[in-house]
Amino acid sequence: MSLVRIPPVLRQAVGGEREVEVPGSTVAEVLDNLYDAHPAVKAQLQSEDGELHRFVNVYLNDEDVRMLSWLDTPVSDRDRILILPAMAGG
């Protein structure tokens, strides 16, 4: 199980949790399993054609998955996945 950190704007969609444990051996699998458990998240992260929105960054541990193998990036047990939309508040 990897640990997915949920940003403030998505917490309501996962029942207020700040971190959720999600199984999956690639980033894509983890996201799919996250959507299964919390369908409301899906609409905020993906466009209708199933692409991850460009304004959402996904990090595996401290590295942007765009710099790794994108959604095919392998995920090991106990890895941390972080979903990061931009925030503008100041």
Partner: protein
């Protein structure tokens, strides 16, 4: 048996080799220039010193040397006025393990007498010396660093949640010129976090209110009030007047505008953003490190990006993140330490944890990559999201 001053000096001369003024002058021109440490008192230093010498009064030498010379075999030449105090100082460094220490024979007097160049430093006034004494005592800052701060110009975008603490600390630190851009007025609902304002200023322009607070805090700071919204017609001219920009804006259009303008003017940008219990911070160094668009190529649609006004923000979170911005700004002005360039710092006030993500320059970045066509766009329309997206509103 007591040893006389002459005995002690003779002993020091046996341990510490001396270097002649002419030899030092030549070395300073070469690639093997040694570190010159001037151990005279402040008033002697103020009247002139060897160019590039570091000033450490004799009484502080042992305590401050670590911040100045970190390698024991680095070549060091110590000078005083006549060459005696420098010998005794040399013995001290020798005892601390420095193996390549010499004393300048004849000291600064002979240096000057022989017609070599010297620098008369601009100096802090006695009032400034007292005000900034806790800075001056830090070896990495010193009087030189403090003078640099007094000579620096920082532009703050927003005198709100982030701008309040960052302006406050930059002003206290003696950043000589602070520009404040904000077209908003103080509202009672701001005072839970925007600590530079006060109850009696509700209704006043924020930039003006901040100016009053800063002037009350530190008369050394010249505050420039820019009571308008930054946009593409004024941003370049504004940025060109300052050494760096602290981004405390509260909306995406301004943040993307600032990023593009920072690239165009090659002005470093100190970034932070906040929401509820969470803060982000980074430093964007144009063309040296990643930019905001390397990190976030596109703004989120409005419903994924609630403002603090809708979603709320913990007041003290602003203090933490704004102070981090001030900290990064001061380090950059002084040219020391490692900034957050290339890293995104994420602070979670609820779990009291700091996480760091690596951010890299995106070779495809729409703003800073080699092939990018950098020009202003209609940021408002772009951030208003003329794209299809599912509705999933966030409640405050």
């Amino acid at each position: 048996m007591a040893r006389s001053y002459q005995d002690v000096l003779a002993g020091a001369r046996e341990r510490i080799p001396e270097i002649q003024v002419s030899e030092l002058a030549e070395l300073l021109e070469s690639e093997d220039a040694p570190l010159v440490i001037d151990v005279r008192e402040q008033d002697e230093w103020d009247e002139g010193h060897i160019p590039d010498a570091r000033h450490v009064p004799r009484g502080f030498l042992e305590s401050r040397i670590a911040g100045i010379a970190d390698e024991l075999d680095a070549p060091i030449v110590i000078n005083c006025a006549g060459g005696a105090r420098s010998l005794l100082a040399g013995v001290s460094l020798d005892e601390m393990g420095f193996r390549n220490v010499k004393s300048l024979a004849g000291g600064f007097s002979r240096w000057k007498q022989d017609g070599h160049d010297y620098t008369v430093p601009s100096t802090l006034t006695p009032d400034q010396r007292a005000r900034y004494s806790r800075h001056v005592r830090i070896p990495e800052v010193g009087e030189e660093g403090q003078l640099k701060l007094l000579d620096s110009k920082v532009l703050l975008i927003g005198a709100g949640g982030l701008g309040s603490p960052s302006a406050y600390y930059l002003a206290a630190a003696g950043v000589g010129t602070i520009g404040l851009v904000d077209d908003d007025v103080v509202d009672a609902s701001n005072l839970q976090r925007q600590i530079i304002h006060s109850n009696d200023r509700v209704g006043a322009l924020k930039a003006e209110s901040a100016r009053q607070t800063i002037e009350g805090l530190n008369p050394d700071v010249s505050v420039k009030v820019h009571p308008f919204r930054v946009d593409q017609t004024n941003v370049l001219e504004l940025m060109n007047e300052y050494d760096l920009v602290v981004d405390g804006a509260d909306n995406f259009p301004t943040r993307y505008l600032l990023n593009d303008a920072a690239l165009m003017t090659r002005t470093p940008l100190v970034h932070a953003s906040i929401l509820r219990f969470e803060g982000h911070a980074s430093v964007f160094h144009p063309y040296e490190g990643p930019c905001y668009r390397c990190l976030f190529p596109e703004p989120p649609p409005p419903d994924m990006a609630p403002a603090c006004g809708e979603a709320g923000v913990l007041g003290v979170l602003c203090g933490v993140m704004g102070s981090i911005q001030a900290n990064e700004a001061i380090k950059m002005l002084l040219g020391m330490g490692d900034t957050l360039a290339g890293r995104l710092l994420i602070y979670d006030a609820l779990s009291m944890s700091f996480n760091e993500l690596r951010i890299r320059r995106d070779p495809e970045c729409p703003a800073c990559s080699d092939g990018a066509k950098l020009e202003f766009r209609d940021y408002e329309a772009w951030c208003a999201g003329e794209r299809g997206h599912a509705e999933a509103p966030v409640s405050a």
